[in-house]
Amino acid sequence: MKLRTLGLVLAVPLLGACKDVNNPDLNNPIIPETGVFENPSRTTVQQLAIGIIIGSRTDQAAHIRDLSIIGRDLYNLDNADPRWVTELLGNSDFDPGGFGGGHWLPRYRNVRTANILLNSLATASTEVFTSEEISAAEGFAKTFKAFDLYHVWETREALGIPVEVGTTVDDLQPILCSDAALGAIAGLLDEAVADLDAGGDDFPFTLPPGFASFNTPETFRELNRALRGKVAVYQRQFTTALTALGQSFLNTSAPLEEGAYFDYGIGAGDTPNPIFQSLNTFRAHPSWAANAQAGDDRLAKIGTGTNRVASSDPIVQSNRTILNYPTATSQIPLITNKELILLRAQARIGANDLVGAASDINFIRLNDGGLAPVALVTADAAITELLRQKRYSLFLESGSRWVDHRFYGRLGSIAVESASYEVHQTYPIPQDEVLARGGTASCQ
């Protein structure tokens, strides 16, 4: 009897302790297997919205850096990795498994995040959100999705890009050729506008300071239209572009730097400005200063410092330091008023309004560069001057020099270091993407 009791005493606590709890991950919030937060809370929607901005921010500085290197505005003379010179400047193959595979995954990752928000909003309860708020949030998510996809397009252009992310890792979406891809991005932006218009007075979330001018559905619409105008320019739909830009925050009476910005911080869990963190190895391309017009105020964006020489080839060297981003918390723009004015000039050239274009270009020359106006009588001259103004006004704020030279078929006019260098036409489709698609990744 005593033994039986003892046996029970021993067995009971052991069996009682045998239940295991299926704990969620202790270190990170879980992504639901379905990709949907059913009936999401306001907090979840708030955090997903910020998550989308973080996701876009993740690749933005690198995008600007790499496109500026290819477009010969910038060198990254980091001897720990010679590929900044060899691969990006076209001195060796653009490796689809190396640097050439960049600016793809981070953007699609964020499209997935945007889809999580969109799919979750579809299940949102009207007890928690008004239908206006749901609509506003959808407009926000779609606008950012289009923003990310547009940046992938900038790098791949004619090769095409997928414009959606599938539900599973085996659900591969078709690669759309350049026009179709831009069309889909434009469509997404237009859908977003409809959502924003039905979005009432407020977003169901608070946006960071960089979006202070766009923190209601109504004002965010102006940001959406700004992006739509940019996309339409590259679609060569110049009338559409001018209409969209007209509905954007383009304003020749407002400061040129007015716009939407990514914020950076040095707090725990935040990201310091990555360009600021690389200023040791970043140097302006020697041609940036050399080709500037005398007296251009924008030359203040660079200084003179230690000369850095590429370990792989001493022909690649520069002592012109970057002064654009002076602190770890300097903001990096998504799009600004001055870019919109230049985009309007670009659209006007396309629409054969050279007078209008010249007025916009000269506005920038005067107000950003402190330069006297120039007469632009031919479209060709207007394009040349437009490219110059974009180069100096948007220095390290976009990858526009490369994108625009390609747009105008002028990549050949970008001076390269020697005969063994070239300006890439596009980034290749990443090796992993090609392999996952069975070896071919042509667009349709």
Partner: protein
């Protein structure tokens, strides 16, 4: 099962009493604790303090078996009329007679066991002073590949048993001490915060030269170590046992008056090998660095390596132990105080350990055991290994020509004009200190429910706890030269980690012997629960006040926390069937186990095993016994914590929280399950020449299926990789252990041992394209997993731009040779450890070549210049070197003072006084051109060991030991 037997109780059916005494042959000293059993029954007892026993035996003729650790067993047949028997036992120098653990609650004589279980005794571990326990195992176990990750004081070693068993899951064997599953976690100190060896938002800290925590044990506490090398032996340990199991038994008390031992050691460490550097002529120097260096060249040659690593620190170790007790209460208490100096000033290793093991009998049926061990370890290792910030010494020396004078004047260190840091300043000011407090406690209660002539039944309840807290302080003050680089002056890193392992089991073991005595059937079964929790908090503070290191006094503070919580539940059952006059042993068992690391936490995974061995006595005149054995079994390797999850990576923008998908882009797998290893082992053990020699031979095949892999997915899905169970990998190998006693006399022994092991791995099935799993890319040499190839192949580029196999990290074979000669009061012992083949990627040399500073670097026609040019034109193989070595691991010369002398000088209770001079890693013969062919920049690795990037250089040690027993 519990309740079936709980109601019964039986009495031994004894009808007469036999008494006697057991002594050691030659010495006539009584042998307490000798087991005396009646062959063919479950009856038995142990001898007391005076070696005496009394046992009730059945009437009629019986055979008594006398068995004691370290002695050969003796069977003595007694006619019905004999009631008194005295036995003397011969020493078992080759350990042919020991018992070997075969399950959670059972053991069997080594002569019967069906696996090649390596047993290392206290004497073998104690031959030369050792910093940590793994050092003392090097070269002693066939099939164990034990390698140091660097020469830094205080451990950091990998034990790999029978080849590569995984790619992405746990790489370490399971360590079990007195029934407690103990942690061998390596918590990184986060020197990465200053070295930037790994970048990104969530850097991997594998290059931090972390210590894996098995280093905390006090080797002097260990009675014996048994090593189960693969699944065929370890199946009963289930899904943590795929890398083998190291079962450590600590010393226990013995009945008798207190026996004290005091051992005092003094010694030192000495730099074993230097890389060397180029001797610069004035012309070479000015050609390379410009005319402005001409005045510096006047300094002549300043050997910075010697300056940095040339210390010969006084090191010491004090061991004190006492064991004793009565027949009902026995104890073992030990204490250790140890300090190993580092060959670099400011580095070193200190350890203090206290152990109490207590055994208490409650009547004749219940025995309780309690073991407690408290350890403090303090490690100061400085900053070594790969870095991208110009911190690590061997990252700076390659670019610092020998004519630069970096000595401080008036406390001010000159800036190194050639690199980002002055190594002397870094040595003096940059610290990486680690403090570990650890408690390992175990308790067990054994209840002998039935002890009769025909059957025994015992329950054992066992519980254990292993807890450590580890504190890391990495500090680089603002004035250090490289601190100006990132805009934030000064870095202080504070890490606090707590790990708790606990496990609890209930085991039952039943033996049954029929009246005929035809067989012994041992049935065991049990249930085991285990839990692990790990919490690690790290705070990185940058931008510091002069002289301040508190993490709140900083311009930028970045905290991080990671947690793990794992629990598992297992059931096992095993049947051992010993028959045909104890010649045939058949074993079958299985374990079913679940774990919260698996995708399905409720699913039990089943790991079976079966084995057979048969002893053939006297098959030939020179062959005393031949045992043929075969075993097959399965074990598992659990997914790591978190592999089943797909997660966001929370971040914020100016304090606003955001959920973004993690930048590691990993798609977790909710169906992830353990890897499964199937091992077949076949072999024989022979005892030759009147037990003067033994030979063990084994061949094995380990096949691992369901390997956890990362599948690269289309990045347009928003994920980079997905985890899944796929691939298969196979190891085949052969192991031979030969032990000889060419001379075995009262005053002259010679014991000689040779081991040989060869293992060949192959990736037999890979459902994904070949991929790299370590290294810095194919231009610098990388490990590639590829179907049909060795799992440890190293690939690199060629001048033609192809990527091909250019080496293999796995050795062709390993051998070791040890000899111990005892002559009168003298004892001489030596151990040679030979690794043939196995390549190392020598990136330290590439760095020296980059700096044009390798000893063989000179003009354009020098070997160094040719090598670098060849590499620059694409030839990776230049820096992949054969790392064969022959190391003189241990040497000891000992002298036991004559008893007559001892009794004259020392107090009368003194039993023995020994003096020893010993050394470890005294000499290395190798063609490898780095500082040490034993190296791993990435610490313990499944595959990607053998990458040499700026390691802490190796040292040899010399110790003088005085040991007194009283």
């Amino acid at each position: 099962l519990l309740l079936v037997f709980a109601g019964t109780s039986a009495q031994a059916q004894a009808e007469r009493r036999v008494t006697g005494q057991v002594t050691g042959a030659g010495t006539n000293e009584p042998l307490p604790g000798t087991s005396v059993t009646v062959v063919g029954t479950a009856l038995g007892t142990y001898t007391d303090d005076a070696g005496r026993f009394a046992l009730q035996v059945p009437s009629g003729a019986v055979t008594l078996r006398f068995r004691r650790l370290g002695y050969r067993s003796v069977d003595r047949a007694l006619t019905p009329d004999i009631a008194e028997v005295n036995v003397s036992l011969e020493r078992d120098v080759l350990q042919l007679e020991t018992q070997v653990v075969t399950g959670e609650a059972t053991s069997v004589a080594r002569r019967n066991v069906a696996n090649d279980v390596a047993v290392v005794s206290a004497q073998e571990l104690d031959r030369a002073p050792t910093p940590t326990i793994e050092n003392a195992l090097q070269g002693k176990v066939a099939g164990a590949y034990i390698q140091a990750n660097s020469g830094a004081p205080g451990g950091g070693m990998q034990v790999q048993l029978r080849g590569v068993t995984t790619i992405n899951a746990s790489v370490d064997p399971l360590y079990v001490i007195d029934g407690v599953i103990v942690s061998n976690e390596a918590v990184a100190p986060n020197t990465n915060a200053i070295t930037e060896a790994s970048g990104g938002a969530n850097p991997s800290l594998t290059q931090d030269n972390a210590v894996n925590r098995i280093a905390d044990l006090n080797p002097a506490d260990i009675e014996r170590i048994e090593i189960l090398k693969g699944a065929s032996a370890s199946a009963i340990y289930g899904s943590k046992a795929a890398n083998g199991v190291v079962i450590i038994t600590t010393k226990q008390g013995v009945a008798g008056r207190p026996q004290f031992n005091v051992t005092q050691r003094f010694g030192t460490f000495d730099l074993a090998n230097k890389f060397g550097s180029r001797t610069w002529t004035l012309e070479d120097a000015t050609d390379t660095f410009g005319p402005e260096v001409a005045p510096m060249v006047q300094n002549g040659i300043i050997d910075l390596e010697e300056e940095l690593f040339g210390e010969n620190p006084l090191s010491y170790e004090t061991d004190l132990s006492v064991r004793g007790g009565s027949n009902t209460t026995r104890y073992f208490v030990s204490g250790l105080i140890k300090e190993d100096g580092g060959i670099m000033e400011g580095t070193g290793y200190k350890k203090q350990s206290l152990r109490l093991n207590l055994t208490q009998n409650f009547g004749s049926r219940i025995t309780a055991n309690i073991g407690t061990n408290l350890v403090h370890a303090n490690t100061r290792r400085g900053v070594t290994n790969n870095d991208n910030a110009g911190v690590s010494h061997y990252m700076v020396l390659p670019f610092t020509p020998s004519f630069v004078d970096l000595e401080p004047t008036d406390g001010v260190y000159p800036a190194n004009p050639f690199e980002r840091s002055n190594p002397l300043q870094t040595r003096d000011l940059v610290k990486s200190d680690e403090d570990v407090y650890r408690f390992i406690g175990s308790a067990s209660l054994r209840w002998d429910v039935i002890t009769s002539e025909r059957q025994t039944l015992a329950f054992t309840i066992q519980g254990g706890l292993d807890q450590f807290t580890q504190r890391n302080d990495v500090f680089s003050p603002p004035e250090v030269q490289f601190e100006t680089d990132d805009g934030f002056l000064g870095t202080s890193v504070r890490g606090d980690a707590t790990n708790i392992n606990s496990n609890f089991s209930i085991n039952a073991a039943h033996t049954f012997i029929p009246a005929s005595g035809a067989f012994t059937a041992t049935t065991s079964a049990g249930i085991q629960r285990d839990r692990t929790t790990l919490t690690a908090v790290t705070t990185i503070a940058e931008d510091l006040f002069a002289g301040q290191r508190n993490v709140d006094l900083a311009g930028r503070v970045d905290p991080a926390e990671t947690r793990q919580k794992i629990s598992g539940l297992a059931f096992y059952a095993q049947e051992e069937f010993l028959t045909l006059g104890e010649r045939l042993l058949l074993t079958a068992g299985a374990r079913a186990e679940r774990s919260t690391n698996n995708g399905d936490i409720d699913k039990f995974y089943f790991f079976p095993k079966a084995s057979a061995s048969y002893r053939i006595p006297e098959p030939a005149s020179f062959l005393n016994e031949l045992k043929l054995r075969a075993a097959v079994g399965q074990s598992g390797n659990q997914p790591l914590y978190g592999m089943k999850f797909t997660t966001f990576e929370p971040a914020n923008i100016l304090g606003q929280l955001g959920l973004a998908i993690g930048t590691n882009s990993v798609r977790g797998n909710p169906e992830i399950k353990p890897e499964r290893q199937t091992e077949i082992e076949i072999g024989f053990d022979a005892e030759l020449f009147q037990q003067r020699a033994s030979l063990n031979f084994s061949v094995y095949q380990k096949s691992i299926s369901d390997l956890i892999l990362q599948r690269t997915v289309a990045p347009s899905t928003g994920f980079g990789v997905e985890l899944f169970n796929g691939a298969e990998l196979r190891n085949r190998g052969v192991e031979v252990a030969l032990a000889l006693t060419p001379i075995l006399r009262q005053d002259f022994d010679w014991v000689s041992r040779v081991t040989f092991a060869r293992n060949v791995s192959e990736v037999t099935d890979l459902p994904v394209p070949a991929f790299e799993t370590g290294g810095f890319g194919t231009d610098l040499g990388a490990f590639r997993i590829e179907e049909g190839r060795s799992a440890t192949q190293i690939v690199g580029n060629t001048e033609e731009g192809e990527t091909i196999e250019i080496g293999d990290a796995a050795p062709d074979f390993q051998m070791s040779f040890s000899n111990e000669i005892s002559f009168g009061n003298f004892r001489v012992y030596g151990l040679l450890d030979w690794k043939k083949g196995g390549d190392v990627i020598n990136l330290t040399k590439l760095l020296y070549d980059f700096g044009a500073n390798t000893p063989d670097f000179g003009g354009d026609d020098s070997e160094g210049s040719r090598r670098l040019t060849s590499w620059l034109s694409g030839n990776t193989a230049e820096y992949v070197e054969d790392a064969s070595y022959l190391k003189l691991r241990e040497v000891t010369v000992g002298y036991t003072l004559p008893q007559s002398f001892v009794s004259r000088i020392f107090p009368s209770q003194t039993r023995a006084v020994r003096l020893e001079v010993s050394g470890r890693n005294l000499y290395t013969w190798t063609d490898y051109t780095g500082v040490d062919p034993e190296v791993s920049n990435f610490g313990n690795q499944a595959i990607a060991r053998n990458i040499d990037v700026a390691p802490y250089p190796p040292s040899r040690s010399f110790f003088f030991t005085a040991s007194v027993d009283f």
